[in-house]
Amino acid sequence: MNWGGWSDFFAMGGYAFYVWGSYAVTFGLLVMEIVLLLRRRRKARAQLVLSRGRRNP
Amino acid sequence: MLEAVDLRCERGARTLFRGLGFRLRGGELLRVTGANGTGKTSLLRIVCGLLAPAQGEVRWHGGDIRVLREEFWGRLVYIGHANAIKDDLTAAENLAVSCTLGGSSADDAQVRAALRQLGLAGCEDLPVRALSQGQRRRVALARLVPSGAVPLWVLDEPFTALDAAAVDVVQQLISGHVAGGGAVFYTTHLEASIAAAVSLCIDLDRGAG
């Protein structure tokens, strides 16, 4: 384990902004993609319910 | 000569027709009727190979047209809703280009004779822009005159925007072609009486013909 303590870990040898900047954006985008996808899935299912309602109310 | 087997056509999510088949031999006339939007034009485009059917096959002399491709297209004249003429060119130039493209080369004399036959004497060298809608349709249909040798004619609403005299000329052309052993596949709303040995009909209103 090459970190003194948590504060040392987060300082990341002075490059905290760059390292955490990249990691935060990367995993933030991945999570955002999943959230958008689930929303799209909900919209698609709602559309089906809507058209089913229209077909045989 | 031309045969379609179990054709199904879809536009967007709607199925226009399914299980449609017919057989068209030389010297026969096949008319497609049906209300607007029942897929008449789509059927014509499928028969020409412009549109791929969702299911089924179109055969020319037993060979699938998707395999024959250029060989089949060389034996066919297609006149669609659009007149396929350029506004900036004169009527003579337009006809010369469309004849060459279709494979039946026509020299200038034949071109002018065809235009005269369609009642366009005197307008041969006017840019098509200056002609009326009816005259433009005649320029498009004048292509039929030099393509007597082409066995299959596919015409989409040939009689629209034409006056009585022009309709008469076109009817003679069609019946002349059919009498000469060619086949004509066309759609129209006009109750046209075209003399032909055998004239079949596909009615898309009653579902598959």
Partner: protein, 222 residues
Amino acid sequence: MLAVLRCVIRRDLLLAARRRSDVLTVLLFFVIVVSLFPLGAGPEPALLRTIAPGVIWVAALLASMLALNRLFAQDHADGTLEQMLLSATPLGLIVAAKVLAHWLVSGLPLVLMAPVLALQFDLPLPYFGVLVLSLALGTPVLSLIGAIGAALTLGVRGGGALLALLVLPLYVPVLIIGAGAVEAMASGLGAQAYLLLLAAFLVVAAAFAPWVAAVALRISVE
């Protein structure tokens, strides 16, 4: 077969002659875009001399892309495109003929105009030859690749910008090698390799692009 191709080329050239303004707008666009750069980047000759090839090439690229929608859109609208699809001649050859006619109308003028603009940028005279040659080899490639983009975006809304988005990434190699030719000449390396590479691009594009555009046309007209 050949008669049909000659007829298509003659028809397109005739159409362009009848509507000369289309040709001029492409050329004027080219001249204006090139003339904007000194206004933007300042008139010092040293700077202009270094950016001259890049500017002229980018402007030629944009101008030829601007002219692309004239390639199929008009024929699609009035139905002549369907006749080409239903002709006995393979569609690839017809597309090649159309692209050649299109290049003669919108590519060649750019090549001929480039030296005049190079004067404006005070480009040393020995480099004119390489510039014109690289454009002469490059602009047909732009038209050929552009034909694929034009065929794909036929009758699609937002066509102009979409066409640019599709085609510009594919133009990058031609731009780099084309502009690089003059650059290499300037740095003494000699432009031989670049011009040969451009010629290779041209041969490959001429061999494949028309057939790919033909497939794209059949898809778009369906």
